[in-house]
């Protein structure tokens, strides 16, 4: 085998750094909570290094020229998430470890199955039906389950799964392929209404149908965070594909109408907004979660109370929705900001991959995937910090939860696949260039 590309060596170095950082954090959290090092310190280090190494080796084989930053950053976020989940519940930590392994498995499988990103384009309607089918699953009787007023879960035996997480990816692929195909039609008005040229609704129909249907499903399942994420994804991709800013305006109008209807129709939405505007009105019921989150974040101050040392036991949903509050409490403003920088790094790398793409479909897909990551992070962190109403979406790679972790590792694999596809011809060109220069010199 030839020498690994420099990018892979960078990645391996970063993985070592991630293992050291998370290992240190795990040790500190154990010390902070129980006063001594965690008993499974050794296995922890071996497993986290082993899993990331598997991902890394798969990259060497399957996508050697892809971006070197994404996998270690995801590993870091995943590791930090695990430390805080372990600090909250040993039971959930054990499951999260299994889910992480499953996530890495899905990551490798995605890289192996999707040989070229552009192949996905051909299956656009398969993905559309897959996405909508997955969204519908929780609504089926006997299979679906309400958790915290939202019907997002299916359970088979003792096994819970949130199919909406995977559906987001499938629909992102569908949007990207359809929008690429129709970008020209969508960017130029073909019908004249008064002085304006407007779009022919015919071209928009399939997309509007998919968007409307999924919105309805999301609303039926009371998953406000995901509907917003989905909506932002759709409008964002439409704008990027067409370059027409008026889609953003249209999006704002549609969003206003949608929010108004949601507030009127869905009690769940109303109470979420109420408890955002004034959580103190019902401090022990609807406002409780927000208030406890605020207290925890405030207690963190600049440097935090130290891993494992805050009193997180009374924070509801501490390992899922509110995990950012626990992190802010124990790592402080400095640590919470570092975590946000991790996400900016990932989103930035994703968008850079999009910019460097030459083919439209991959460009749009990479944009969509980065957007999912960025907007989802914003929605949950802003909800926890009371910047916007709190809705229950997961903090990517950090929150406890299998479906979310698997979906995000698939997302990561797709981004890396696109990155490899884009970089490989460029590298070949460079190598060719060097060879030629060698000959002439």
């Amino acid at each position: 085998m030839t020498r690994a590309p420099a990018r892979r060596r960078t990645e391996l170095g970063l993985i070592f750094l991630v293992v050291i950082l998370t290992g240190g954090l795990y040790a500190l959290a154990g010390l902070g909570k129980a006063g001594n090092l965690p008993a499974n310190m050794g296995p922890f280090l071996v497993i986290i290094f082993g899993l990331l190494l598997i991902g890394h080796l798969a990259m060497r084989r399957l996508a050697p020229n892809a971006d070197p930053i994404l996998l270690p950053t995801a590993g870091l976020l995943n590791g930090i998430g695990y430390v805080f989940i372990a600090r909250l519940s040993t039971h959930e930590a054990r499951l999260q470890a299994v889910w992480t392994a499953a996530g890495i498995g899905a990551f490798v499988a995605t890289l192996a199955l999707v040989k070229r990103a552009r192949d996905l384009e051909r299956f656009r309607y398969t993905f559309a039906f897959l996405g909508i089918g997955l969204l519908l699953l929780p609504l089926l009787p006997h299979l679906g389950e309400d958790i915290n007023g939202a019907r997002l879960w299916i359970h088979v035996g003792s096994f819970n799964f949130q199919p909406g997480e995977i559906a987001k990816l499938a629909l992102a692929i569908f949007f990207a392929s359809v929008l690429v195909e129709r970008a020209d039609l969508l960017s130029k008005g073909t019908r004249r209404v008064g002085r304006f040229l407007v779009l022919d609704p015919r071209y928009l129909a399939p997309i509007l149908a998919a968007w409307g249907l999924s919105l309805v499903i999301f609303l039926a399942e009371n998953d406000l965070g995901s509907s917003f994420l989905f909506f932002a994804l759709f409008i964002g991709l439409l704008w990027v594909a067409t370059g027409r800013a008026y889609y953003l305006g249209l999006g704002a109008v549609l969003f206003a109408i949608g929010s108004f209807l949601a507030l009127k129709v869905i009690g769940h939405a109303h109470s979420r907004v109420q408890s955002w505007l004034d959580p103190w009105a019902h401090p022990s019921t609807t406002g409780y979660q927000i208030i406890q989150g605020q207290f925890a974040i405030a207690a963190g101050g600049l440097f935090g109370q130290g891993p494992g040392q805050s009193n997180a036991s009374h924070i509801p949903e501490a390992s899922t929705d509110l995990i950012f509050a626990v992190i802010a409490a124990e790592l402080g403003l400095v640590g919470a900001t570092a975590l946000l920088l991790g996400y900016i790094l990932m989103v930035g790398s994703g968008l850079r991959i999009a910019v460097r793409c030459e083919r439209q479909f991959e460009k749009l897909l990479a944009t969509g995937l980065s957007l999912i990551l960025g907007v989802q992070t914003f929605v949950i962190v802003a909800g926890v910090t009371r910047l916007i109403p709190l809705t229950g979406v997961t903090l990517p790679f950090v929150s406890y939860g299998g479906s979310s972790l698997i979906a995000n590792y698939i997302l990561l694999a797709l981004l890396l696949r696109i990155s490899h596809d884009t970089e490989t011809p460029r590298l070949v060109e460079q190598a060719f260039d060097v060879e030629l220069r060698g000959v002439t010199a």
Partner: protein, 499 residues
């Protein structure tokens, strides 16, 4: 398309900057306000869940300790000796906060007051990272065995015993009946805590306010120690005055008379009056001294001031202002025998005995002996200090003679406190409460020539039988405590911080 993607990136960064700004706002700007919010239990829980050191008696018995639990509060505070030390250690309750030494030495016990030191060992580094084992234990000056003697002596009776070392102010025993079990309101079963707390507050006698230092009674004739000191300090001429033998003293400004208990007749010079505790004689001495001198002397002994004991909310003992006697001379006569408006805590009266015992000085009363860290090394030791310079050594010596005569003289009121081989000095008190009951008092110190223990005993609301009840009821209790301490059966291995 690339232009839009770049704008999208900028847009997302703007959103993340908004998150950063919101975090700054919550964690820095509003942090104080949120922390102070009454709904925020973080501070309370944090304070409650901090590891707490033990409280140990001077003779090495654990009085309060923290047991790890699996619930949110992390540690359960246990008081292995139950009610015996309730009024010294106090309690540490999640609902009701803390009291006693738990309250005074909270920061010492949790170690939040311990100075920061750079870690020099692995375990030190671990402690720094975990912020956990900064807890310190405190060792009290109070003796478990002496406390047991006091409890045993008061068995079945309402009353208080305070014993201290007059040379240092170290509290050796402080026990009151009835008492309560601090375990019962410090558990993690909050409903049970509330029920128990309610039951305790409904008990007569205000059990949660330790009678020994927070409750006051008429000191009665034990106050004559102060009246007599006032004679030596302010009008020594009265020491040679012979007071007439009377059963009732006519009072100025009124037709009322001050009666001796049971119509008894007594009189003579100061030593004689003191020995038999002659009320008519001391009533007249009070009138002869005047309100100013008596008030000055009472204040010198610590009345009208909060004793600086290291336990929370100690009560002042009360003696009226001099001006109040100008138009009310009868009050002056009654105040001179510790009646009317005079009120004293058992602690205050123990300090009165200690003042005479320690040659006219009162040392600051305290329960803290020393502080040890989690490695069992002594971090700091209580340094005794003077609270009040009460009177001269000469006056104290004179008073010692008077108090010896109370015990030794055949007609003394405190003969029941005699201990073979040990000279005890004492004063009895039988205060009339105005309800047909009496408060039986006894204050004493021993050995008279080199005192190492001063004691005060009060048994409130005893049936009124004769004027010597301070001597018959309270003296044996004081005697038992003194005997136990001096015989060494209840003494600490090393006298704590003796000068």
């Amino acid at each position: 398309m690339n232009r839009q993607i770049r704008l999208l990136g900028i847009g997302l960064i703007v959103l993340f900057v908004a998150l950063f700004a919101q975090l700054n706002y919550t964690q820095l700007v509003r942090a104080k306000a949120l922390e102070a919010n009454p709904l925020n239990s973080n501070a309370v829980v944090k304070e409650y869940t901090a590891q707490r050191g033990d409280i140990v008696s001077a003779d090495g018995v654990t009085l309060a300790t923290s047991v790890p639990t699996n619930d949110q509060l992390k540690y359960l505070r246990k008081y292995p000796k139950g009610a015996l030390f309730a009024q010294i250690t106090g309690y540490f309750s999640f609902i009701y906060g803390s009291d006693g030494a738990e309250r005074t030495y909270d920061k010492v016990l949790t170690g939040s007051k311990s100075p920061f030191k750079l870690p020099t060992s692995l375990s030190g580094l671990r402690n720094l990272l975990t912020n956990r084992n900064q807890s310190q234990s405190i060792t009290l000056t109070t003796l478990y065995k002496l406390q047991l003697v006091a409890q045993d002596q008061l068995k079945g009776r309402t009353g208080s015993v305070v014993a201290l070392d007059p040379r240092t102010g170290a509290i050796l025993a402080m026990y009151s009946n009835p008492t309560f079990d601090p375990n019962s309101i410090s558990s993690h079963n909050l409903a049970a805590d509330q029920a128990n707390y309610k039951a305790i507050t409904q008990m007569p006698g205000g059990v949660l306010d330790p009678p020994a230092y927070r409750q006051t009674w008429f000191p009665g004739s034990t106050f004559k120690v102060i009246t007599s000191s006032a004679v030596y300090d302010h009008k020594p001429a009265l020491t040679t005055k012979t007071y007439p033998y009377l059963s009732a003293l006519p009072l100025p400004q009124t037709t009322n008379e001050l009666h001796n208990f049971g119509g008894e007749v007594c009189g003579g010079q100061l030593p004689q009056l003191f020995t038999v505790s002659c009320d008519t004689g001391f009533g007249q001495i009070g009138l002869d001294l005047g309100g100013v001198a008596l008030n000055l002397e009472a204040n010198a002994f610590g009345f009208n001031q909060v004793p600086p004991i290291d336990l929370p909310f100690a009560a002042k003992s009360f003696f009226p202002a001099a001006a109040s006697f100008v138009l009310d001379q009868p009050s002056l006569a009654y105040s001179a025998i510790g009646q009317q408006n005079v009120q004293a805590t058992p602690l205050q009266m123990a300090l009165v005995a200690a003042a005479i015992a320690d040659r006219g000085q009162i040392m600051t009363p305290h329960v803290l002996g020393h502080v040890t860290n989690s490695q069992n090394q002594v971090v700091s030791t209580y340094q005794p200090k003077v609270w009040k310079d009460v009177t001269s050594a000469a006056t104290a010596a004179q008073m010692t003679q008077l108090m010896i005569s109370v015990v030794n003289s055949p007609d003394g009121t405190g003969t029941l406190a005699q201990i073979p081989g040990v000279q005890v000095a004492a004063k009895t008190g039988t205060a009339q409460t105005g309800t047909g009951k009496i408060d039986a008092w006894f204050i004493a110190f021993a050995p008279a020539n080199n005192p190492t223990i001063a004691v005060s005993v009060v048994l409130p609301n005893q049936p009124s039988e004769n004027e010597y009840q301070g001597g018959t009821l309270a003296a044996p209790i004081a005697k038992a405590v003194i005997e136990a301490y001096l015989s060494g059966s209840a003494a600490p291995a090393q006298p704590s911080g003796a000068p």
